[in-house]
């Protein structure tokens, strides 16, 4: 229901090639693209001299980027209001940029041409300001590059490597870390931002404007600034450092961006109801300990694995993948499971049936901000070490950020815990039902051991602690499996030899 009324308007004192057509729209409009092609009035130039009635039309200047119109969001003044230079007139919007338009003149608002919600045409008057005679001249000087009426919505000359206007250089080399010795003072009086009334007072007291520290919005000098300067204590010129000193504690970049964890004790009893992962953990663990567990532990020499990882690490990083020991351990587990599939099974105690699973969906215990979770990596038997590492990274990121999906948390056939990365050597892991086995890897330590010649040599070792369901797994199977797994990790070339 848009009513379009065409008005033919002839704008005086400007040469026109065509008449300006400006449709009026009702306040309730449909959304539309802002870069519509509309008939544009021939752009007027901003004039600084009032017409015969003492009125200057304030033109909406061309912001570049082919923008023909902007929506008026809000007027801060109304017709009849008195305004000073730099006072806020209105806010306009073009696509994603909101711009504040401030007055260039002192005067009185005579006529507002576009109401809130209307589309203002670039190059046409936004508002007429009555300035009377001659108060404008002294404030608009040719050297003034601080014209607030120009709306820089990405002006075309700001391209890559394009010529830019020099910014105001602050005296002295700026090497921050020192607090607040850089004051923003204008280089000379012309560059100082102050309304005519303020300039008049400064002139009256014979004060150079560039000596005064501005406290107004956007670096403007106010009347109070001048009075403060006049009344400053004579003993010392103490410069108020509040505005320019750092806002907070200043630190080096590296320290700023490392995540910190503060440890605080609790001073009184705290009631913590279990929720989310903790709740699930409580329930599953209760069920798990109905399984008769038996354990088997061993010591693995880690040097071969350490060497393998250091060789592969760089290549993995180039592909954006973080490689830890875990992917190697998981691949070895899968290869051992291929020889002993009884350990990759699910047991149903009601029917006394074990289902040996063809997929090695190996669960990896993870400690997240929300608690312990065990997502699994699917089909490890079909994945390379790099694939496993990539998938592990993904699960870790998900566990710590967006959250794990149901798919990731179900369908596991065996689990491995790398508790050693936090601490511990031997452990007694608890089987995750309905799986039949679980392993916990302890931390890597450097210890003295005897080699084949009887000499004492330093080696890196870590411990493995297996737990298995004694209703379906016997000690011999567990030990054989563990030996195979150990063989692969101590001699990675054996892994390569048998890898499909």
């Amino acid at each position: 229901m848009i009513q379009v009324i065409l008005i033919l308007v002839k704008i005086p004192s400007v040469k026109l090639n065509q008449v300006c057509v400006r449709p009026l729209v009702t306040p309730f409009r449909f959304n539309r693209a802002l870069h519509t092609t509309r008939v544009m009035c021939a752009a007027q130039q901003q004039s600084n001299t009032p017409d015969a009635n003492g009125v200057i039309p304030f033109i909406l200047s061309d912001p570049g980027e082919g923008i023909a119109e902007c929506e008026v969001l809000k007027w801060s003044v109304k017709e009849g209001d008195k305004v000073s230079q730099f006072d806020m007139l209105c806010e306009i919007q073009s696509d994603k940029a909101v711009a504040e338009i401030t007055s260039r003149f002192d005067g009185i608002i005579k006529k507002i041409h576009y109401q809130k919600g209307q589309m203002a045409q670039v190059g046409t008057p936004l508002v007429d300001i009555y300035v009377g005679g001659g108060t404008v001249g002294e404030t608009i000087s040719s050297g003034d590059n601080l014209s607030p009426s120009t709306v820089p919505m990405g002006s075309p000359d700001m391209g890559l490597g394009g010529a830019k206007q020099p910014i105001i250089q602050v005296e002295g080399h700026v090497n921050s870390g020192k607090s607040g010795s850089e004051e923003v003072l204008a280089r000379d009086d012309q560059k100082a931002m102050a309304s005519p009334a303020v300039r008049h007072i400064a002139k009256k007291y014979g004060i150079a404007l560039h000596k005064i520290k501005p406290s107004g919005k956007e670096g403007r000098i106010t009347k109070e600034d001048i009075m403060n300067y006049i009344n400053r204590p004579m003993a010392e010129e103490k410069v108020e450092k509040v505005a320019s000193s750092p806002a907070g504690r200043v630190v080096e970049v590296a320290e700023a961006f490392k995540s910190s964890s503060a440890s605080v004790g609790i001073t009184e009893d705290r009631v913590v109801p279990l929720s989310g992962y903790s709740r699930i953990m409580a329930k599953t663990m209760t069920q798990s300990l109905t399984i008769p567990h038996f354990g088997l532990c061993d010591e693995i020499i880690a040097d071969g694995m350490i060497k393998l990882r250091s060789q592969l690490k760089k290549t993995a990083e180039e592909q954006g993948v973080k490689l830890t020991y875990m992917p190697i351990i998981l691949k070895a587990t899968s290869m051992a499971l291929s020889r002993y599939p009884q350990l990759n099974a699910s047991f149903n105690e009601g029917s006394l049936v074990t289902i040996q699973k063809s997929s090695h969906n190996i669960g990896v215990a993870m400690n997240t901000p929300n608690g312990l979770v065990v997502p699994n990596i699917k089909d490890v038997q079909r994945k390379s070490i790099l694939d496993i590492a990539r998938e592990l990274n993904r699960l870790q990121a998900a566990a710590n950020g967006a959250g794990l999906g149901r798919e990731d948390l179900s369908g596991g056939t065996i689990s491995i815990s790398n508790i050693g990365t936090i601490g511990g050597t031997y452990a007694s892991p608890v089987i995750v039902a309905p799986e039949v086995a679980i392993g916990a890897v302890g931390k890597i330590q450097k210890v003295p051991r005897y080699d084949s010649h009887g000499a004492v040599v330093p080696v890196h070792i870590f411990n493995i602690s297996w737990s298995a369901d004694h209703r379906v797994i016997d000690g011999a199977t567990m030990a054989n499996f563990s030996n195979a797994w150990k063989e692969y990790l101590e001699n990675p070339s054996a892994m390569l030899f048998e890898m499909k």
């Binding site: 306040p27 309730f28 449909f30 959304n31 802002l34 806010e91 919007q93 696509d95 994603k96 940029a97 909101v98 711009a99 504040e100 401030t102 919600g117 601080l146 607030p148 009426s149 820089p152 919505m153 990405g154 700001m158 890559l160 490597g161 830019k164 910014i167 105001i168 250089q169 602050v170 700026v174 090497n175 921050s176 870390g177 850089e182 923003v184 919005k217 956007e218 670096g219 505005a243 320019s244 806002a247 907070g248 504690r249 200043v250 630190v251 970049v253 700023a256 961006f257 490392k258 180039e318 954006g320 993948v321 973080k322 990274n393 870790q396 990121a397 710590n400 950020g401 967006a402 959250g403």
Partner: protein
């Protein structure tokens, strides 16, 4: 895929003459405070320095300066799930923030304002993680045609702000849950959001975190401006003591800013209940009911509601207030009114 090793990387931009810099990092995740800090930096920051401000918010929906919150997001769901609703002072569309989304703000002097260069600084930072990103014509940043960052701007006589988001590991399903394109029954002025398919950066670089990325952006920022500085850590309590900042903070929280700045819109609703029909045609201005035509068949159910709604806040509190003031016409009518109120609250 050709690998670009960090040692031989080329910057996208040519570095210009050195300019002094300032970097600030907010320790707070309060969206009102973070935006108030931005407002304070915009009006009262040091104009001679290229300034970079880094921050992130707890779960929040942020709408643009001139948007209609009821059209852009599910306002009731936000209330129910305790998600903040904040209106920013720059233009553009509605976005969902959580701790997996990082925000950056570049403040420049008008003469040295270059929003494309800012985006390229971000792209150079992403290359540290072997992510190839580039800005499009709308200055969104894309990786493999998926949007990972959007920008908006605010300009005044002397100062220019370019700020934007970076999706690292945001809960993307919440974007769909809380933001929607249009209630088709609302016709309004104002800016509509432009939908784009999005993706998290952690999809391309799994170990990417907020700290790692902000670190990289800061390094590239220094590289481009040829200066370094210490990073100012902004503490919540200290910031609230600054008078202009706490004033901005209070204003951002006010209903009048968040809802009242909504441009005018029309909403036409109709429904058939078991006992009859209801038809409501309402106009809203500044987030309040204005000029309502409500009628029902039988007529006594909504008689007089039109005038009672005028001027009330356009939300369920305003509606509830108005309905309570209606003349009592017996228990059947009251029961029917309750049904109408429930339906209206769902629709609004």
């Amino acid at each position: 895929m050709r690998q670009i090793s960090p040692l031989s990387r080329r910057s996208f931009t040519t570095t210009s003459a050195p300019q002094p810099v300032r970097v600030l990092l907010s320790k707070s995740t309060d969206p009102y405070l973070n935006l108030a800090i931005e407002d304070w930096l915009f009006h009262h920051g040091q104009y001679d320095k290229q300034t970079l401000y880094l921050w992130r918010n707890e779960p929040t929906v942020v709408i643009g300066r001139n948007q209609n919150p009821w059209k852009e997001c599910d306002v009731k769901a936000l209330e129910r799930d305790s998600i903040h609703l904040v209106r920013r002072s720059s233009g553009g569309g509605a976005v969902y923030h959580d701790l997996g989304n990082s925000c950056f703000s570049f403040f420049s002097d008008k003469s040295s304002y270059d929003k494309n260069k800012n985006s390229l600084i971000i792209c150079d930072a992403l290359r540290h993680f072997n992510i190839t990103a580039s800005p499009n014509t709308r200055n969104d940043i894309l990786v493999n045609d998926r949007k990972i960052s959007g920008s908006a701007y605010r300009l005044s006589g002397k100062r220019c702000l370019h700020h934007g988001t970076l999706l690292i590991s945001t809960h993307l399903h919440n974007l769909q849950k809380y933001l929607y394109v249009g209630n088709p029954y609302i016709k309004s002025a104002g800016v509509a959001s432009v939908r784009s398919p999005v993706q998290n950066l952690s999809h391309y670089a799994p170990m990417l975190t907020h700290d790692l990325l902000m670190n990289a952006i800061t390094k590239e920022f220094f590289h481009h401006y040829g200066h370094r500085c210490g990073v100012e850590l902004l503490d919540e309590e200290e910031m609230k003591k600054i008078p202009q900042l706490s004033e901005a903070y209070e204003n951002l929280r006010k209903w009048g800013w968040r809802f009242g700045e909504t441009p005018s819109f029309e909403h036409k609703l109709q429904y058939t209940f078991l006992w009859g029909t209801v038809s409501i045609h309402l106009h809203s201005e500044e987030g309040r009911f204005k000029k309502v035509e409500a009628s029902s068949e039988p007529p006594e159910v909504l008689e007089g509601l039109s005038s009672l709604l005028e001027g009330k806040a356009y939300d369920r509190h305003g509606l509830s207030e108005a309905m309570e003031m209606m003349e009592d016409r017996g228990s059947t009518v009251t029961q029917r009114r309750r049904e109408v109120e429930e339906w209206l609250v769902r629709e609004m």
